[in-house]
């Protein structure tokens, strides 16, 4: 089985499982929408305050929803004994990493695709611009890269899902800073040139951490 | 000169932290020495 087929087999398995149960997408999606609504209550009627923190609210939502979807993805594996089965079959841990990362990425993107229009609607801001979509995509790659590795570790600990936010959120701080600032600039109508430094940092983050997580995954999970 | 209190506090914190940790290490070492001696005599008796 060549590499591409191994990876797509894993992605397809996750996709099928999700299409049958719809566990992840529904629960995380509802959570994301609830977070948006709750932020609205938190800031009350102060519209100027809301507008200045708007990108922050969006990315906090994405960060928390991301953690949830990453958690569910691996907890399922653990509960069904798939984890051990996966490591036994001759797929190679590197393919497992790539496969799981891609499927987590797809899940997160699906949730974001639905959340963005709702956000646009609730906050009266046009976040469906090309710039914001690019920013979201790039940052989500970083989330998936680090999140897949940490999720695989977390699921094998005593407290499972609870550990993931503690590992994930500090490491993802640069992504959050860059994404929030870039989104804010994009909403304010800045040009690509101004977004440049933020985007460069996000891309650098993605490259570094996809490679690093890929390399570490193999060694860290080798019993 | 009224900020001397803060200066003192900062240095005191660092001193307390370092000294405290050294005490912790010393206690650990003492306990471990006891454990090792006890275990070694136990094994020798067996």
């Amino acid at each position: 089985m060549n590499y591409f087929r191994k990876v797509s087999a894993i992605v397809w398995k996750d996709a099928l499982s999700e299409m049958r149960t719809r566990e992840i997408v529904f629960s995380v999606l509802v959570f994301a929408l609830l977070v948006l609504v709750i932020f609205n209550f938190a800031f009350g009627a102060d519209e100027t305050a809301m507008n200045s923190i708007a990108p922050g609210i969006l990315w906090v939502t994405f960060a928390f929803a991301g953690v949830l979807s990453l958690n569910r993805s691996f907890v399922q594996e653990k509960e069904n004994g798939c984890f051990e089965a996966l490591t036994l079959c001759p797929v190679g841990r590197d393919a497992i990493y790539v496969g799981k990362m891609l499927s987590s990425l797809v899940f997160m993107i699906i949730i974001e695709i639905i959340t963005l229009p709702v956000y646009s609607f609730l906050f009266n801001l046009n976040v469906l611009s090309f710039e914001i979509i690019i920013i979201t995509l790039l940052a989500t790659i970083g989330f998936a890269a680090v999140g897949t590795l940490f999720s695989a570790l977390a699921v094998n600990t005593r407290v499972r899902e609870m550990v993931l936010p503690i590992l994930f959120l500090p490491v993802v701080v640069p992504l959050l800073i860059c994404a929030v600032n870039a989104s804010g600039d994009a909403l304010a109508g800045e040009s690509w040139g101004d977004l440049f430094s933020w985007l460069m940092l996000i891309i650098a983050y993605d490259v570094v951490f996809v490679v690093a997580s890929y390399l570490v995954f193999e060694h860290a999970l080798e019993e | 000169m009224d900020n001397l209190g803060y200066l003192f506090a900062a240095f005191a914190v660092i001193w307390a932290v370092v000294f405290g940790y050294i005490l912790v290490l010393m206690n650990r070492q003492k306990k471990l020495k006891r454990d090792i001696e006890k275990l070694e005599t136990d094994i020798r008796q067996n």
Binding site: L153, R158, V173, C178, A220 | Y6, A10, V13, L25
Partner: protein, 228 residues
């Protein structure tokens, strides 16, 4: 008097001497800084503490990589020793930073690049200690924490960079004004030396303790085998 004992004694003497020199320099030699007054002298302990916190993470990073390659428990004992010390020093940095901030800028906390980055570093240390605490099995614990350490370490410069970029966009006048005059530089260098020596001393001691812990575990197992 074995080799390790002699090394530690020498280190202890050197550390004591450099700390006495450092204290003299801080309190008698260096002139008072103009804008902040006497409080500014916190700087001479504050900066070395940060240096130690970062140095410690370098140690964790290297030992983690070595553990994943060699799978020898010794490297893991180095990592956890460095993690403990690094975490404590990061906490000390945050606390002294806060103590300095109050008289200097009137607030207990500021989101300045230095303090904010230190706070994230603190959480990265917490992440390392957390994964260690909740993973069972020596090998697994070491492997998992090595993974977290490596990712965390690579993250640190990116965190500092992004926070600085963010803060230059929204600057607040909370930066240390002016450069360092030669007497200030000398004082700082001696302090860094003193703390580094102290660090090496504590690190060696902690590593030896961790190895003793492993030895106790082995002895216990041996004892049970003999009795059973």
């Amino acid at each position: 008097m074995n080799k390790s004992h002699i090394t530690k004694m020498v280190l202890l003497v050197l550390t004591t001497i450099s700390f006495m020199a450092a204290l003299y320099l801080i309190f008698f030699y260096v002139p008072t800084e103009l804008s902040m007054g006497v409080v500014q002298r916190i700087f001479y302990f504050h900066v070395p503490v940060a240096w130690i916190a970062l140095l410690s993470y370098v140690v964790i990073f290297v030992s983690s990589i070595m553990y994943l390659r060699k799978r020898s428990k010794t490297w893991d004992t180095v990592a956890i020793a460095a993690a403990e010390i690094g975490f404590i020093f990061t906490t000390a940095f945050l606390v002294t930073g806060s103590i300095w901030a109050k008289p200097a800028w009137g607030v207990w906390w500021t989101w300045s690049p230095r303090l904010t980055s230190a706070l994230v570093l603190w959480f990265i240390y917490v992440a390392y200690l957390t994964i260690r605490a909740y993973t069972q099995g020596d090998d697994r614990k070491a492997r998992f924490s090595s993974a977290v350490a490596i990712i965390g370490f690579i993250d640190i410069p990116i965190v500092i960079l992004s926070i600085s970029l963010w803060r230059t966009q929204h600057p607040s006048a909370l930066i240390f004004e002016g450069g360092l005059t030669p007497p200030m530089l000398l004082t700082l260098q001696i302090c860094i030396l003193a703390f580094t020596l102290l660090y090496v001393l504590i690190l060696i001691q902690s590593i030896q303790i961790n190895r003793s812990i492993l030895k106790v575990r082995d002895l216990r197992r041996l004892k049970e085998m003999n009795e059973g």
